[in-house]
Symmetry: C2
Subunit: 265 residues, 2 copies
């Protein structure tokens, strides 16, 4: 499963070692914030999504017989990041691991502890605008098809659009108005961080899933800062090039799904 010998306990994480993203193929999904960070930083990485045997590679990692190796516990689910001999999972954890290495968050010795502010913003965006967006179409269980939980999904979607979306997007608007966000369009300290990339990806996914609801929010002008941040990320030269490339996968039946019956009327 891993090329690491169980006897090698030292983790190699030198800067010249490329990053390997292990994630499902075909849709952006939970792997996408990882890709955006790597692309923004111009980092060297591989992506299992382009491998023919991608699904086998992912499932070997999460297999019930995998107990990890001498230095790495087994991963629970993708996305998974391999960097030298290090293997880690859990999206917010991967983002945080990459952040200081790619210059997309303050380092741990920063006296203002900025990394913990950036991390809390990323976690909040992922909770409300990614995990909850997923649970709208799967309110009962990920084990069942959407078609078998449509009634509950409809109720959840109405509440999500009327209450949860304004609550979370309104929160980020408030963060942007706050002094700690600093100058410019970014969430924290006047500089682009991975929290901005996460928020961009969430808004982009939501625009696909709930186009009418998001258009209404944008037209309302109540969340101008959030949509300005969205546009500012989209115009970053490397992100712009990436989004236009075939490395950016198309939305489909993944985390962000478009069911017209779940959108605003």
């Amino acid at each position: 499963m891993s090329s690491t010998s169980p006897s090698v306990r030292r983790t190699k994480t030198a800067k010249d070692v490329p990053y390997d993203l292990i994630y499902w193929p075909t849709v952006p999904g939970r792997g996408e914030a990882v890709r955006l960070m790597l692309e923004e930083a111009g980092a060297s990485y591989t992506d299992t999504a382009v491998e023919e045997n991608c699904i086998e590679l992912v499932m070997a990692q999460t297999s019930k017989t995998n107990t990890g190796d001498a230095s790495n516990p087994p991963p629970f689910a993708p996305p998974i990041l391999k960097h030298g001999n290090l293997l880690i999972h859990q999206l917010p954890n991967i983002l945080q691991y990459l952040s200081t290495r790619l210059g997309l968050a303050p380092t741990y010795d920063d006296e203002n502890n900025g990394i913990f502010h950036v991390n809390q913003l990323a976690l909040t965006a992922l909770d409300g605008l990614s995990n909850e967006a997923h649970d709208v179409h799967h309110p009962i269980s990920v084990d069942f098809y959407y078609e078998d939980q449509k009634e509950a999904a409809k109720k959840r979607a109405e509440n999500y659009i009327d209450s949860r979306l304004p609550k979370f997007i309104g929160y980020f608007e408030r963060v942007l108005k706050g002094e700690a966000s600093g100058e410019g369009p970014w969430l924290y300290g006047g500089a682009l961080s991975y929290a901005d990339l996460v928020l961009f990806q969430c808004i982009d996914g939501l625009k696909f899933a709930f186009p009418k609801a998001l258009a209404k929010m944008e037209e309302s002008k109540e969340y101008e800062g959030v949509f300005k941040l969205y546009g500012a990320v989209k115009e970053r030269p490397r992100i712009k090039e990436y989004l236009a490339s075939d490395r950016r996968l198309k939305y489909g039946n993944g985390l962000w799904r478009h069911y017209p019956e779940l959108d605003s009327e």
Copy 2:
């Protein structure tokens, strides 16, 4: 809201500054893993749960008019941790902030990057055994009463007990069998970490919420490592003293709730 002057940008996080936990009163909830860490480490802390005006203190933090201060963005929701001039939120973020300071995770300069392994284990326990345990009784929305989403809750509970619980608790059993868990009852590197405290709290909450389902799992002997870890945390001298004290709040209508109709039959 905060005693911090907006002009003070430097965050004071010296070791002798006590920690202040800002969380709802009456139930353990999402604040509990924070308390367990502070208690295990014998750290000095205050807890809004004991304040008469606790609810006002929490709501002032999450008010729609709070935009934070010069160095702290506003918090989205409790638990919130104040440490000197630093104010942070998001449970996994607070746990990680405390971990290296309280000696409950490897430090960031550890060459094996153990903090990211401990963090991924804590995040996975919180996802599957805390957040999902909450969503069992609130599958449609936190905005509605349980009584108004009972039908969906019943379906979700069946799936949770039959599929999700064995998947997550089975995962931790696999981690404990893996070489990277090291000697002794702990999840990572042969030493107690905050991931163990999080897993303990999740199992304890689940035992309250789904006593029959958890008893079956314990009797099956399939998850012996997990229940052994649970027992080992419970016997830690400081944890034992804490659990017997009135600082440990009682379960009720919080995150972990007991509705007999949602438990195993």
